[in-house]
Every structure is written in structure tokens, then in C-alpha cells.
Amino acid sequence: MSAGPVVRPTRATVLGGLLGGAATSAGIALTATSGWLIVRASERPVILTLLAAIVAVRAFGMARPFFRYLERVVSHDAALADLADRRSSVYAALVPLTPARLGRRSRSQVLTGVVDDLTDVVEAQVRVTVPVLSSAVAGVLAAGLAAWFAPAVGLVVTGLLLVLALGCVLAWRVESRSRDELLAARAETARIGDLVARQAGELRAIGAQDVALGWLEEAHDALRRAVRRQSRGRAGVAALVLLGTAAATVAAAWLVDPAAVGAPVAALLVLVPVAVGEALAPLVDTMRALARAQGSSARLDALLDQRPAVHDPEHPAAAAVDRPGDGPRVRLEGASASWTGGADQLAPTDLDLVPGRHVAVVGPNGSGKSTLLAVLARTLDVSRGRHTVDGTDVRDRTLAGVRADVAVVDDEPHVFATTLAENLRLARPGADDDAVRAALGLAGLGGWLEGLPDGLGTRLGTGGRGLSGGERTRLGVARAVLADRPVVLLDEPAAHLDHPTATAVLDDVLDATRDRSVVLVSHRAEAIDRLDAVLDLGDRPASPLTKE
């Protein structure tokens, strides 16, 4: 699916633009009629003749906030409606792409990026479409009014509008060109910040504090350069608006003939360019928002335009009804796989996972351990070879059918902002509290649960109780236990834990999954000692199972 163009006039944005145009026009008119009033008054007429102007000044003064209020309500409401639609449609579009098409690392960052990009794109309605329309409406009105009194001044105001438009185009180009550089620079500073927050101890351990600060300084220098380059856009428009105003005001002053139009109107015409310049200055901000939204939109399109890595067959085969033993027998025969459709990340591999067997997968980073798990979880299909469950090729079965047998525990289980019970129950809707308690107990969280003041009702996640790394991993394990799926895949569940915690967690995990098939990717030698077999992917060509 495509996010579509960033600037899309819709009924609501056009209405917002018209209302905003009315507000901006009222502001310009306020300055102009005030000038008219003062000059007319200085001619010392009968007071009654001033009344109309006095009423007009007050009316414009009140109309501006009134229309501005309406414009903001209309445009924000439209944007929020748009956001609601897009959120659910983008989410629906992401489901078949998850997880294989979300990148191999830091998927939660990719997903957070989607949230931000979506907000940027939708905000463009409020920050770009509406102000640009408002400015156009007000500018044309002002030029028309000026032309009605004095065509020459009308031309001057039109010229000012063209200068502003040109400035916007230039600013947009500067902003667009510096956008990616700036994003990269910001991401790099964030990366260093994240690195030091997490690895300060490791960096101190090897005396690399100054090196880390050097990286930060480099990242900041890149950020400085990018920000400096980008600020030229806004700075240019800000200067151009004032220079244009100066030229237009001087031109208007030369061209106005007080004898022809009368002194009060002459004053009004001299003040119009200043009022227009002041009222349209906020256009400076729109171009940054536009460039940003276009970048976000392109990123969203690139993500959402991908084809799912796996899909349901047209005529799915039924699952084996009379399954021998306690679970499915999963086999890989010469199975290789690729995330991108290009070179294989998993070289041909054989695996025979009989029910209840515990297999460790080892090998250097990049040897295909996570790819193997993705194949077993059926988030990725084999590019060559066979992947069968109980003798049936998985590609002949539905995704849901194959996946229903498999529970995955990775190193970053997500903790939802809801109660502890609901956090587990998503793995098996309808599970009663006793089952949830039992799963927590098996995952080694029994004692922790007892210490919680609200028990299973304790709120976790954002705004709730924080969890330590070990508790989080155990929560993921408890989910897998509660889901009661016969095959459990463990992807470095203890990668982020310190040594004693990791050992304790892995011990509990292996105890909790004793009666199921388990495939464990881990670097921990102690855990591997407890398993039935070891598959070494670094030891090519992939050989039958060996025990080290």
C-alpha cells in the first residue's frame, strides 16, 4: 500500500484553509483599516463618519481569533480522523510483513519509526496544506483589494507574493537536501547515547572513556554541519520576507497617489505590504514540515510496498489428525533460506526435531542461527530443500496452522502496557488465573508474583511497573509455557542478561519446557551442556547432529 502524496487537499483541509485564510485576511485588514482610521481621523471629520471604520477595526480584531480558532479545530480534527484511519490500515498492512520484512535487527525501532513517520505525514495536513492554502487565500485577497484601489499597488503585492513563493520553493529544496544527512546525524548521536547508557561499564573496564567521548564529538560535529546547512533554508526565507516587504513598501509608497485615492486609502495601501509580510511569515515553518513529511512518506512506502515473505497456499492441506507422540515431528532436509531473496543466509541444513527433543544451535554470528529459527517459526520459507511437519510440506498448510504449534521466545519480549495476567493471556486467550500462575511459576517468576501488591492485576509496561531484564525474559518464557505449544524456539533468550541471571534463567527455561521440543540458540556453554544435541552452523557443510 502507498501512503499517497503528502499534500492532499481534502474537504476538511480546504475548509481549514478557507477559515485560516479568513483569519489571516482579518489580520491584514486590521492593520490596513487601523491606518485608514488614523489618517481619516487626522483629517478631523465629523465623528459619525468614523464610526464605520471603528466598527470595522473592532470586527477585524475579533474575527481573527474567531476564525483562527475554527481553523485549528477543523484542521486538527481532520488530521486526527486521518490518523485514526491510517493507523489501522498501516497496522493491517504490516501484519503479513511481520517479522521477516521488518529488518533483522532492532525491529521495535523500525516499528517505533513507523509510528513517528505516520505522525509526520498526517501532521503535514495541519502544518503544510492548511497554512499554504490560508496564505494563498489571504495573499490573493490582499492583492485584489489593493488592485481595486490602485492597480499598480495590486501588482506590487502580487510581486511580493511571488517572491514569498519563490523563497518557499528554495527553502523546501534546502530542507529536502539536508533532510537525510540530518536524520543520519541525529540517529548517530542517539546511537552513541544509547551505547554509552548501556555499555558505560564495559567502556570503563577497558579504559575507552575518552574514545567514546571522541565518537560523541564526531557525531556532534556531523550534526552541527547538517543543522547549519539546513538552517540556511529558514534563514533565507526569513530574510527574503523582510527584503520583499521593504521593496514592496517602498514601491507602494512611490506608486500611491494620495490625490487620486485620498489620503486614508493611500495610508492603507502603504501599510498593506507590511501587513502581508507579517501575516505570511509563518510560511517559513511549512517547508520544513513538508520536506520532513515527504521523507517519512517515502520511508513508509518503501516498508509497506514489500511483498510478504510467506503466504497461505491456495488450497491448504489439513493438519495431520492422528499425530504420533506428543507433538509434531519437524524436519529440515537440505533447507536453505534467505531474508531478501538473494544470497542465502542459511546454507543447506538438516534437522530432525522429534517430539520432546532439545537441540542447541551454535555458530558464529552470521552463520544463520536466527534464519534457521525463522524458518522453523514459518516467518520465512526455505529457498531450497524441504521443511516438513509430520511429513507434510509446510507450504501446503496455512500459516496459522503451522505457527499454532510453535512458540518463540527472543531476547526482547515486548511487555504490553496492561496487567500481568493480560500480558500472558495474549498467548492463550481464555486461560484462567490458575493456568497463568502455573506458567509464571514454571518460568521462575512464582516468588516475584507473590511479592507484587496487586498480583496478576499488576499493571506492567509504560506507566506501570518496570521489569528487570531477567524478569522480562522470564515473562516471555511464561507466555510460551502458557501458550502450551509443542515446539518452543529460544533465540538467545539470555543475550542481554548478566552471567548469573542468564544461567539461572536458562536453567528455568529448560526445566519449564522439559516435555516439549526445544531449539535453543545460545552462546552459553553451560546451557548447551544440558541439551540432547548440538547443531553447529559454523561447521560447514552442515552435518547431522553431533554432540560436542
Binding site: 465623528i47 493491517a92 501484519v95 523582510l242 509608497a253 494620495p258 502496557a417 544461567t503
Partner: protein, 529 residues
Amino acid sequence: MRPFDPRVLAVAPAARRPVAVLAAVGVAQGAATIGTAFALAALVVAVVEGGGLGGPVAWLTGLLVVRAGLGWTSERVAAWAGVEVTAALRTVLLRRWLEVPAEQRPDPDRGATLSAQGVAAVEPYAARFLPALVAGAVVPVLAVAALVWVDWLSALVVVLTLPLLPLFAALIGAATRDETERRWEALSSLAGHFVDVMRGLPTLVGYGRAERQVEVIAEVSRRHRRATMRTLRLAFMSSAALELLASISVAIVAVTVGLRLTHGTVDLRTGLLAILLAPEAYWPIRRVGAEFHNAADGAEAVAAVLADVTTDPDSPVRGPSSPDELGVTARGLGYRHPGTDAPVLHEVDLEAGPGLTVVTGPSGVGKSTLLEVLAGLRTPTTGEVSAGRVHLVTQRPFLPAGTLRDALRLGTDAPDPALWEALRRVGLEGFVAGLPEALATRLGDDGVGLSAGQRARVALARATLSTAPVLLVDEPTAHLDAASSALVGDLLRELADRRTVLAVTHRPELVRVADQHVVLTRAGAEVHR
């Protein structure tokens, strides 16, 4: 929350200059704006009364050109200040985390959020809110002063109505505070819902629960829209009320001046000046209010950074207690992880000089923690440590994103021949020489392409390059096969000839060649020589 906390300038001196320049440009812009009003009034008078246009035109053009220059400068300075203040704060924060022991650092997740998104929110705060704050403080004062000089009656109107703005804002704020707070909570939980289910998408897909969320998202987004609009209406309403107040005040000035003009008590120039100057007194104050909500996150982040870098004056930062010392001494050492009751280390006495000291003990007895305490990464809860400069090789050694060369040179500036020598000593010379790009091979974020054993040996190679007199090594042979383990054992023995080497290990071979063997138990440390 304070609009501007001057402690920022004390904590991050690098932020002083940009903030000062920002203020100076803001003052100059304010003065030029007031000047423009005079020139414009003079121009209109010249046009209307048919005087010579030359003088006013020159003045107006000159002032607007100056303002254009200042406008250019202020945008550039604002961007510069934004990035400098952010950089200064982030540097202060990270420097502190690199200096203090683990107990004084925030939880990694919180720290990561603070140093990334938190500090980034300071940029708009410094780049947009601070200039608005300067303008809000300077321009109204200048405008009123000019008005007093030009037409004190109009000045009186402005002076009487101006305080109504903050007063009104405060009244509206007070009247809606409870309502706003109540809604704010509901709103942030509604807004957080989408981020939450988005980040949890892989989990939901894994358990087949994702499709169901589409409808939930639509429903929550609709509620979010309604709740947001209720809050926004209130906010827009109060800002409209303030604008109306300002408009009416300006209209009062215009109308009174108009009436006085008809009586001939003031002249045209004065009248024009009054209506051009009066709005300048109001809008900067409204802009401060408008920018404030954009700046709220930044101001909060500033407060959080200040809190983090200025806490705990009682627990001083402990560097190496005696940098020139060649060994390690611990007396009555105890350690308890923050927030736990049971101590990990208890009454540990240990003295290690040049030579090889091996530490053994059952799993979970605190061997890794002992090394961290000795290295100064943790502060002992009881007892004391005295150690020279320390290099610690942990179980998950840090390898930076970059090349193998970068990883090896971390903490030293060793030239390539020294790097090859170090690789030879850990038995990786052949492996690295066989890589297509040798030392220039790129490692991923976390050392992609290296097995756990190779990572461990790279870390050991790095340790041999370090000049620290004390070398602490945690389970150096955990991921190694027998041949590599023997090689590493020999290497440690060799290093121990000139340095203090303290290794945590399970390998009996290493224990046999040690000068000293420390057995760590729950009760303390037993030393065998």
C-alpha cells in the same frame, strides 16, 4: 517546571556562548522592530502629507535590510544554539556515566531514552522557545518605553491591559487544571496504545493475535481523536481568548487615538506610531505561550539531565585510588546490589601484586562482581579497595561497530605491527590474515561474524596492548577449545611476569601455574599460595 533553568549554563559551559548570542540577537531584533515602526509611520505621513519620501524610504529600507540580516542571523544562531546546547548537555551526561560506578548510573533503558530522545527534545527548546522567551522579555518593554515617549496615554492603555494577558492565562489554567490533568492522563494512555501494540507486533503475530488488533486500533484511535479534540478545543479557546484580549486592547488604543485626532489633541505621526507600536507589546508574550507547549518536553529533559548529573554529592566519584600502584588490595570487601538485601560479596580480603592470581569459586558466588568492584566499576558497600590502573576483560567484551582495527585499538593507540603481534599471542593471526580485508574487516554492531571464542580472544589481544599495570580477566577460556585454552593460559602466565594478572577461571591447568589461588566462598576469600 521552569521556563529557563540557569543551572544549565553552570553544568554545560559550552552552552553559554550560543545562549548569550541568542539573547543579544533577540534584543537587536526587538530594537530594530521598534525602529521600523517609527520609519513606517514617517513614510505614511510623508505619503499622506506629500513630504519628501527620500528620508523615510531610506530609513525604512535600511531598517528592514538590517532586520533581514538579523532575521537570517537569528535563524542561524537559533539552529546553532539548539545543537550546541543539546550537544553540551549530552556530553555532560555521557561523561558522567563514563566516570561514575554502576550504582550511580540510571537503569540502561531509562538512560538510553534520556540521552537519545530526552536530550533531543532540548533542541527545539533552545532553538525556538529560548528566542521566543528573549523576544517576550525584550520587545514589550521596548514597545512600552517607546510609547511612553511618543504618547503616554496610549502607553497607559497598554500598561493597564498587558498584565491581563498572563492573568487571564493563569485564570484559564487554574479553572481547567484538574480537567486538563485528568484528560492528559487518559490521553497519554490512549496515545501510548498505538506505540505499544506497534512495538509488540512481532509478539502478537507470533501468537496469532495481530489481526484482532486492527479493529482495536481503530476504536482506540477514535477515542483518542475525541479525547484529543476536547483537550485541544480548550487549549485553542484559551489562546483565542488571549488573542481577543490583545486585539481589543489594540482596538482601544486605535479608537482613542482616532478620537483624539479628531479633536486635534495629537498629530498624525503620533497616532500612527501608537497603532503600530501597541501590537508589538502583545504578540511576543502570546508567542511565548504558544511555544511553551512545544518546549515542555525539552524543559523536562533539561530538568532530568540536571537531576542526573548533580545527584549524590555524598558518594564521590572514585577513580583508581592510586594510579601508580602495581597491584590490587581489598580489605573487608562487601558488595550488595542496589535494591537487594542479600550481599553478593562478604568480608573479602585479597592482596595481589605482580604475578598470576587465579580466582575460583562456585557459580553465583560473585566472582564477576568481585572483578567489577576491584576495577572500580562498582562501589563496595563495605570495606575498601586500592588498585592501580586496571584493564578488565569481561565475559561479554565490548566490540564497537567498525573495523577489527578499531576494536583492537580501543583504549590504546597501538600501530598495526603491535596489533598483529597481539593477535599472534592469542592465536588469531592466521584467522585475521585470512580475512579478505584483514584488520580493516568490518564488525557489525555487536561483532558480527565472530564466534564467541573469537570475540573473547580479540578482547584478550586488546588487553595485551593495554598499558594498565593491573589486568583482570573474567573466564577467559569459557568459549575456547582445548588448544586455544592452553594458548591463553600461556599468555596469561607470560603477561603475569610484568603485570598483576587476576583471572577468574574454572580451568585446573591455570590454577596449577598460578602464583596465588583465591577461592571465593559465601563467607569470604581463602588464599592458597
